[in-house]
């Protein structure tokens, strides 16, 4: 499932310049640079060890980079310190919770860290309890929560103080498909209202949730853009996506003029993604070819390379089969 782009401002709220970070001999980040626009959901995508968590830890102020700098609204991150931390929410990778503390205890404690008390805290707590589906669990200790409930509590903690910036590190890791869908819908709802940076190595998560993707590999940014932009720049040959029905089954698409490759979309056998040569007349030529063979054409539009294809192409320098 791919979402339409949201209303993101084109001016970067965070600008990252030439970040470098080492852990002893291991290079975590090298010359990493990118921008995050206000109101967008940016996906940090990369294999394990690509530097996603280190990037988030630097952006949240948990650790300082060895080299390079981060600017928030044009001001150095290091100079903002506590003021910036007041405006950010963070769900770390392991979603650390205190086993003996209840859901309410966690939220009250988080509130106290952000200066929320009394009626403001109650209001904020009720808001996130409702939004994150924690109603009825307020008195339950973290040790008695399921994985999905724990994850929702982690997200509620990150949202409690109404942050402008939300950093989520692998928020759906280890959840069952139903909970993944729930949590993704929740995160998708933040778009426009908050700037979200989401780290993941799950391609479908990026496709389902993010406006823009930054692909990291070995501490470097290897690709950046919306899925459409990446598809155009990295997907290789132009693509056409079509739906056509033939009485005697699908034809050999590679026999059609200008078609290089064909891949079925779905199991019905009527939807296809075709890699074609750059001829601007290709759609018209193909439509005529289908008609000549007695096929019925229901849909024909420019296709897009899948994220998996793009990802493999930039990480390994080869497209998916």
């Amino acid at each position: 499932m791919t979402c339409p782009p949201r209303r993101a401002n084109s001016i970067p709220v965070i600008q990252v310049h030439e970040l470098g970070k080492r852990y002893g001999e291991t290079v975590a980040l090298q010359g990493l640079g990118f921008g995050i626009r206000r109101g967008e959901i940016l996906g940090l995508l990369g294999p394990n060890g690509a530097g996603k968590t280190t990037t988030l830890r630097i952006l949240t102020g948990f650790m300082a980079p060895d080299t390079g700098r981060v600017e928030f609204e044009g001001r150095p991150l290091a100079a903002l310190g506590r003021d910036l931390r007041r405006r950010t929410g963070y769900l770390p990778e392991a979603n650390p919770l205190t086993a003996d503390l209840t859901v309410r205890g966690h939220l009250d404690f988080t509130g106290s860290l952000y200066g929320l008390a009394g009626a403001r805290l109650r209001e904020a707590r009720e808001g996130v309890v409702e939004r994150c589906g924690l109603r009825g669990l307020e008195g339950r200790p973290a040790r008695a929560l399921s994985k999905g409930q724990r994850q929702r509590l982690g997200l509620a903690q990150a949202l409690l103080h109404g942050p402008e910036l939300l950093f989520l590190d692998e928020p759906t890791a280890g959840l069952d498909p139903l909970l993944v869908a729930e949590l993704r819908a929740l995160i998708r709802g933040f778009g426009g209202e908050r700037t979200v940076v989401l780290s993941t190595h799950v391609l479908t998560e990026v496709e389902a949730v993010c406006d823009r993707v930054l692909i990291l590999d070995r501490g470097r940014a290897v690709a950046e853009g919306s899925l459409e932009e990446l598809g155009r720049s990295l997907g290789g040959a132009p693509r056409l996506e079509l739906r056509a029905v033939f009485a005697d089954g699908p034809p050999d698409w590679t026999a059609a003029p200008g078609v290089r490759e064909a891949a079925p979309l779905g199991d019905a056998g009527d939807r296809w993604l075709l890699a074609v040569d750059g001829d601007p007349e290709a759609p018209a030529v193909l439509a005529a070819w289908i008609q000549e063979r007695g096929g019925r054409l229901y849909e024909l539009r420019p296709g897009r390379a899948g994220l998996e294809e793009i990802f493999l192409s930039v990480i390994h320098g080869e497209a998916a089969p």
Binding site: F62, M63, P96
Partner: protein, 261 residues
């Protein structure tokens, strides 16, 4: 300094709900009671032996001084027990937060290093004070058996509290540099035993370097007057300085974590 009260509240809530803290506290109080009971048995045996010896010598019966023998023995035993339990109470304060990842959440919140360190330390100190208070009845039960020196009990408990404050601060500091509570506890034990027994390395009665220095740095040397009913400014300052040193080291440990990762 905003936020330290929240840390303190969480610390106390977790301490009083955690089975580990409960087991640790229970063991402490039980052992303190056992030590007091054994001391009492020893005192009674010695008193009976003294009375028998005096009777054989045709002298009137006399009792051993309750405060010089039983109370002093009890308080000494309790101090040693505290020395063993303090690293266990302090080992997880920061090391557990680091290991469990909750430190990442704390340090990405607007909370500064000082409030975090102070909240943690106060929480552990209050738990220690609570456990110490639970051992008080064992001392007060002696009152019907003689003229118990209540001021000595009071100063001894003040001394134990101050020693606890200092040693908890030092264990907290060790926890800021490791994610392993076991290493923090082992380091705490080593450091505390060293501080405790420093004057053992000095020649008795000697002054100047290094003997005088070793004696003046010994924790036992500064605790002993409290156990005898004396409150000296130098001893108060010693434990206060150790506490501040430990807390500042812990703060620096956290700050270096932020700077270096």
């Amino acid at each position: 300094m905003r936020g330290w009260a929240g840390i303190l509240r969480r610390e106390l809530t977790v301490s009083f709900r955690s089975p580990l803290a409960g087991a640790l506290g229970g063991a402490f109080v039980l052992l303190a009671g056992a030590v007091a009971w054994l001391d009492l048995q020893e005192y009674m045996r010695a008193s009976v032996q003294l009375a028998a010896r005096l009777r054989m010598m045709g002298l009137p019966p006399q009792f051993l001084d309750l405060n010089d023998t039983l109370l002093a023995q009890n308080l000494g035993g309790l101090a040693f027990l505290c020395l063993i339990f303090l690293p266990l109470l302090g080992m997880g304060l920061l090391a557990d937060e680091r290991r469990g990842g909750t430190l990442e959440l704390l340090m990405t919140s607007p909370l500064g290093e000082w409030p975090l360190v102070l909240g943690k330390w106060c929480g552990a100190l209050l738990l220690y004070a609570f456990l110490l208070a639970l051992t008080l009845p064992a001392q007060l039960l002696l009152a019907p058996h003689g003229d118990l020196a209540l001021p000595v009990v009071a100063t001894a408990y003040l001394g134990l509290l101050l020693m606890g404050a200092a040693f908890l601060a030092l264990t907290l500091a060790l926890g800021a540099f490791t994610r392993s509570p076991v290493i923090a506890a082992a380091g705490g034990f080593a450091l505390m035993f060293l501080l405790w027994a420093l004057d053992g390395f000095a020649r008795p009665g000697a002054t100047g370097f290094p003997h005088g220095l070793l004696t003046s740095l010994s924790a036992l040397g500064h605790l002993a007057p409290f156990l005898r009913g004396l409150v000296d400014t130098a001893d108060l300052i010693y434990f206060a300085v150790l506490s501040v040193l430990g807390l500042d080291l812990a703060r620096r440990g956290l700050a270096s974590l932020r700077a270096g990762g």
